[in-house]
């Protein structure tokens, strides 16, 4: 039966709970199979809505018409309203900066949400990986011919981390590697994609660290590739694996 946590599942998936509540919900979902399965169903619906909702694109003619309208209006402002025009560039610049910053943040949040979905959906799957092996010399070659790039994996013996396996994942129509690692009772997903202009725009910084839906996330670039690590393990555990991967790729 649903419990007191159940009504908080939607706000949790919408990232609207406080940090304390998010942590509480994380812990609850690990212990309550009923809420965990409800959360997964809702996440699937949310994801399906997002994909289905991105349906309509403006025509090139319409885009051009609006661009002309905006340019014409800006010209009219320059010609007739020279006093406000002294202020307008400042406002416009501030708006451009605001929109630009928001857009960067929007892009990065979109990418991270997509990866969080992949991480959660894979863990809920009975076959989370397509190549099952703790041997890096088995997992890495499996990706040959499946990805337009290659990557290096570290030797994990004695580090506390175990390679579980991998599969091909897609992010914004780009193929990449989804690798799964274990550390104690936790799973860490590592995604590797080409650092395309689309992804780069959302992550202008080379390295970043943070939290998405209470998952600890670390991201970095190396050799034209963008790496993302996702886990409910503590930040130090995620950072430890990331350091090993960075050393392997260096």
């Amino acid at each position: 039966m649903p419990d007191a946590w159940q009504p908080k599942i939607d706000p949790y998936l919408d990232s609207e709970l406080s940090a304390d509540e998010m942590r509480g919900m994380d812990a609850h979902l690990r212990e309550c199979p009923s809420c965990a399965s409800d959360a997964l169903r809702r996440l699937q619906l949310k994801r399906a809505t997002r994909l289905a909702g991105q349906r309509y694109a403006p025509s090139a003619q319409f885009r051009s018409r609006i661009e002309k309208q905006v340019a014409k209006k800006s010209h009219a402002v320059r010609r007739w309203a020279w006093v406000p025009a002294l202020v307008a560039p400042v406002l416009l610049l501030a708006a451009v900066v605001t929109v630009g910053r928001w857009y960067e943040s929007y892009r990065s949040q979109q990418v991270l949400a997509e990866l969080a979905d992949l991480h959660v959906a894979d863990l809920a799957s009975p076959t989370p990986v397509d190549v099952v092996s703790s041997d890096r010399h088995t997992v890495k070659p499996w990706f040959q011919g499946k990805l337009p790039f290659t990557f290096d994996l570290p030797e994990l013996t004695g580090t506390g981390y175990t390679l579980v396996g991998g599969r091909v994942a897609y992010l914004q129509h780009e193929p990449g590697a989804h690798l799964l690692f274990d550390v104690r009772a936790h799973h860490i997903s590592v995604f590797i994609f080409r650092d395309t202009p689309d992804i780069e725009r959302g992550f202008p910084a080379r390295d970043s660290r943070g939290r998405v839906l209470s998952f600890n996330v670390e991201s970095w670039t190396h050799g034209g590739l963008r790496y993302f690590a996702f886990s409910d393990a503590n930040p130090e555990a995620v950072e430890g694996l990331c350091s090993l991967l960075k050393q392997a790729g260096a």
Partner: protein
């Protein structure tokens, strides 16, 4: 124009018509340019321009017709948000339903709920941004979202039943 594509997508979902969506976006940009002085830098530009688009839609013929569709249940009740839902198993539905069926189900959701779903799940706005855009309290956003998702699940289940009997 980074918001152009998403504004157009939102406009098309609201109007369900390409020509009307283009008119709506064009009028939104005209109003935004004219009233740009009223925008305060540092405040939420996205909520501001979406609010212009939505207000413009509500005064259009299609918008006026849509706004006459009044929800049967009261909107300000937090208890509805807290109520236990009788879940349709989305995992089964979504596994069987293709993207087109989800889109068709979304079309069936009343505009008042469709818009809040689009702003939350497609545009990924926070509840506060949605509240600013729709000019309603956050509690209303939450209860509309609850009902919107319930309506979407019901519409999806209906589409799947139709598909099975076709």
């Amino acid at each position: 124009m980074p918001l152009f594509d998403s504004l157009y997508n939102f406009a098309h979902w609201l109007t369900q018509n390409r020509d009307e969506a283009e008119d709506l976006v064009q009028e939104t940009y005209a109003k935004a340019l004219k009233g740009f002085g009223t925008f305060q830098p540092g405040t939420n530009f996205r909520a501001w321009i979406y609010r212009i688009l939505r207000n413009t839609f509500l005064t259009s013929r299609t918008g006026l017709a849509a706004s006459r569709t009044v929800p049967l249940e009261p909107e300000d009740d937090q208890e509805q948000t807290l109520a236990v839902s009788t879940e349709t198993p989305e995992s089964i539905l979504l596994r069987e339903a293709g993207q087109q069926q989800v889109q068709a189900a979304l079309e069936r959701v009343p505009v008042i709920y469709r818009e809040v779903l689009l702003l939350c799940d497609v545009e990924e706005m926070s509840y506060q941004e949605i509240a600013d855009t729709l000019a309603v309290p956050i509690g209303t956003v939450m209860s509309r979202l609850y009902r919107a998702r319930k309506a979407l699940r019901a519409a999806l289940a209906g589409k799947m039943r139709e598909a099975r009997h076709a």
